[in-house]
């Protein structure tokens, strides 16, 4: 038996190691056929399967058992079989079901993107743009919760939460003691700490990074700026507790916030400690590497800070070049 299995996703065949999930196989192919994932997080064991946005159709189970799977399956938790054929964006059924899931995710979401710190780097926002409806069909009051401060650095906006359980897994797996979890059930379930204990741990800040929406926000960055006005720069420092590899988000010359580095699927590469995240906000604390590579489709990239050339109208016109001097200089500063 060969140690690789063949799987075909939307007509593209790829060979992957046995035990790989369909989602990860699709990520090996890359591009548009990668199902979106709101709750799955490759760095967190046991995550996934909950949000149902990554559902795909398995049109052929495997070489041995070619029957299709009866239901749409969560690609993040279904392992590939040899000869499996998967339909993602080529199946209208999947597209419809996924838009259904997106609609469900949004019906109780406050849609307060204009005042949400996550806007611009929010997975739900991106998903909503791609699969959502223009208009909601939900005509009832949305469920609401009080905002709570869990610890002095993190604020929890339960209204925005999509209950992906990522932060729970994070606390379980990278900190020594989890003090928060899910209370209640159904659509009134909420992430909370037991009788509002503070989440106080060296690595608790990572909960902010793994949160796909704006439910967990960095209190040191709240309302300071829109993320697309800030410019991400990769940097590192010698940190005794973590790898010290971070992204600094600059506005002008000030570091507004520090996050872990994220890959193209919005997952952090290495978890960072709270000292790096909350306390080291001076350029002098860091060794600057280079501007962070941001996907072209991200709203953060719309600033074109690393590729911005003077617009065609400006190029031949000296007067306009003078007028835009500050802006142009800013982009070449780093």
């Amino acid at each position: 038996m060969s140690d690789k299995v063949k799987v075909t996703i939307d007509g593209i065949t790829v060979e992957v190691a046995p035990g790989t999930s369909i989602l990860n196989a699709a990520r090996q192919i890359g591009g548009d056929i990668v199902p979106p994932a709101m709750c799955y997080y490759s760095k967190l064991e046991g995550s996934g399967g909950k949000c149902r946005t990554c559902i795909v159709k398995v049109s052929k189970g495997s070489e041995k058992d070619p029957r299709p799977m009866p239901k749409l399956v969560a690609s993040c938790r279904t392992t590939v079989m040899d000869g499996m054929e998967v339909m993602n964006i080529t199946s209208p059924e999947v597209i419809e079901a996924r838009s259904g899931v997106v609609e469900m995710l949004l019906i109780n979401h406050p849609l307060d993107c204009p005042v949400c710190d996550q806007a611009g780097e929010c997975d739900l926002q991106n998903l909503g743009y791609e699969h959502g409806l223009q208009k909601t069909r939900y005509e009832f009051e949305r469920r609401t919760f009080e905002r709570i401060d869990i610890g002095d650095k993190i604020q929890l906006h339960m209204n925005r939460c999509i209950l992906c359980y990522r932060c729970v897994f994070t606390a379980d797996q990278i900190t020594n003691k989890r003090v928060h979890g899910i209370l209640n059930r159904g659509d009134h379930s909420e992430i909370s700490t037991y009788i509002q204990t503070a989440v106080d741990n060296d690595f608790s800040g990572n909960m902010i990074d793994v949160c796909p929406v704006g439910a967990l926000t960095d209190k040191t960055f709240r309302f300071r700026n829109r993320v697309w006005f800030t410019k991400p720069i990769d940097a590192h420092r010698d940190c005794p507790t973590c790898s010290g590899k971070v992204t600094l988000w600059y506005k002008g010359e000030d570091v507004l916030r520090v996050t872990a580095r994220k890959d193209i699927y919005g997952e952090v590469e290495e978890f960072i400690c709270n000292t790096c995240r909350f306390d080291k906000k001076k350029t002098a604390d860091w060794v600057i590497e280079h501007p962070t590579v941001i996907s072209d489709t991200s709203v953060i990239a719309s600033n074109h800070y690393d590729t911005l050339k003077p617009l065609p109208v400006i190029q031949p016109n000296l007067k306009l070049q003078q007028a835009n001097k500050v802006e142009l200089e800013k982009t070449t500063k780093f």
């Binding site: 996934g48 909950k50 149902r52 469900m104 999509i162 059930r185 159904g186 659509d187 379930s189």
Partner: protein, 454 residues
């Protein structure tokens, strides 16, 4: 008089004590299994009997047992699912209250067949009296040497525990039950792996309904072939039906599968007809999760043949004209019942019981409940009806566990069969608050058949 297997001695005074139960032939199955049969023989007998899971899905029990992984050095568990909380189903509670030793005997035989040294009965939290009854019965059985070390000198050890649940409907889903039994939040697990491979504490586990386990006793006593002679087709044996609603004599009945629905409702041996001389409007055949059917389709198949109480006949016609056996919670509605209100009530239940883990069910059940509430209280719109169908479709099949399907089916089927009643609620918002739509045409094609039969 129909043959009874489980409830044969139910009216004997003191049958809940070990002595009387022994007098009536109790624990014969344990003696037979442990002294004369091998575990594989027991599994084989259950396979031959064709017993199908009585908890709702109807999966063959023998097959389920044979799927159990048997790795060396890893314990195996049998867990009895007594978290019965489906609206309309109360058969397990009845069985546990009145004849607890039947369940314990079944547990011993089944554990022996599966090689489980520790077994659990997970009882719903609200059933405190039943938990005490079971614990007392277990103590009795232990004193008599049917539990503990070296049972009946066969060298087989078994410890049996009763675990009260917290009273959540979702903990009746087998993987959520296992999570809860492990002391965690009762969220269903993502399958695969199935419990037969990695269940309780990651060990191979079989989860069976109370009635399935109790049914093992007559199977071992009389042999699987004998059991398979009862019933019809692939629906073998007898089934406990919890009949409720507008019936003359609601209650728990043991029927031989294959009885016609009409006989079950109207015969004096069973439910004795619809109460107060009213007419039947609709039935829910297997507990709140299964599709609701109007009277005409409840009694007859689409092709005019009588519908029978069996797994196949009830699901004949798919979801367009059929329903499911489910857990046997038979609810009858007379002509004065409002289907919209009933659908809202079911929907409210699922909204309350959704675990909130996966998004379609968490958000969708609440949405359906709110729309149905609006329809019932006269604020509905015509477009709400199609909206409900659409939401139900988006939940169905897209969730981790079957609760999403169970929430979607009653709503989708109610609209499929009773759309004019929903429309009437929109058109006559004021009138619908204090009057009912009535029987309309829901019983029409078979109205004659009802009168000629009785």
């Amino acid at each position: 008089m129909a043959r009874k297997l489980l409830l044969e001695h139910i009216n004997v005074p003191g049958i809940n004590t070990l002595d009387v139960y022994r007098e009536k032939g109790g624990y014969r199955a344990v003696e037979k299994a442990l002294k004369t049969l091998t575990p594989d023989d027991v599994v084989e007998e259950v396979k031959k009997s064709g017993l199908r899971g009585r908890g709702g899905a109807g999966f063959p029990t023998g097959m389920k047992w044979s799927f159990l992984a048997k790795p060396e050095g890893v314990p195996r568990y049998l867990v009895c699912n007594a978290d019965e909380s489906e609206p309309g189903t109360f058969k397990d509670r009845y069985l546990m209250t009145h004849i607890p030793h039947a369940l314990i005997e079944g547990m011993i035989v089944a554990s022996f067949a599966l090689g489980a040294k520790t077994s659990y009965i997970y009882v719903r939290g609200e059933m405190m009296p039943q938990i005490r009854i079971l614990e007392k019965a277990i103590a009795e059985a232990k004193n008599a040497g049917f539990l503990g070390k070296n049972i009946l000198g066969s060298g087989y050890d078994l410890e049996l525990y009763v675990q009260p649940g917290g009273g959540a409907y979702i903990c009746g889903e087998e993987t959520a039950l296992l999570e809860s039994l492990e002391g965690k939040r009762g969220n269903p697990r993502i399958k695969p792996p199935f419990p037969a491979i990695a269940g309780l504490y990651g060990c191979p586990t079989v989860v069976n309904n109370v009635e399935s386990i109790a049914a093992v006793v007559p199977i071992i006593n009389d042999g699987g072939d004998e059991y398979a002679k009862l019933g019809i087709g692939r629906s073998t044996g007898t089934k406990l039906i919890s009949a409720s609603g507008n019936l003359v004599r609601p209650g728990v009945y043991e029927i031989e599968l294959g009885l016609s629905v009409e006989e079950f409702i109207y015969s004096d041996e069973w439910c004795g007809g619809i109460a107060n001389g009213k007419r039947l409007k609709a039935t829910v055949a297997g507990g709140s999760s299964v599709p609701i059917l109007p009277a005409n389709l409840s009694l007859k198949l689409a092709n005019g043949e009588p519908r029978l109480m069996s797994y196949e006949s009830l699901s004949e016609g798919g979801f367009a004209t059929g329903t499911m056996m489910g857990s046997g919670g038979f609810i009858a509605f007379d002509e004065d019942q409002c289907i919209v209100r009933n659908t809202w009530n079911f929907s409210r239940f699922y909204h309350h019981e959704s675990c909130g883990q996966c998004s379609p069910c968490r958000e969708g059940t609440g949405w359906m409940e709110k729309v149905l509430h609006r329809l019932e209280y006269g604020h509905g719109k015509m477009s709400d009806i199609d909206l409900l169908v659409d939401v139900a479709k988006k939940i169905e099949g897209n969730t981790i566990c079957p609760l999403g399907d169970a929430a979607a089916w009653p709503v989708a089927s109610a609209i499929r069969h009773f759309r004019d009643e929903f429309e009437w609620h929109v058109k006559e918002p004021i009138k619908s608050l204090d009057t009912n739509y009535g029987l309309a045409n829901y019983a029409e094609p078979i109205a004659k058949a009802v009168t000629t039969e009785n």
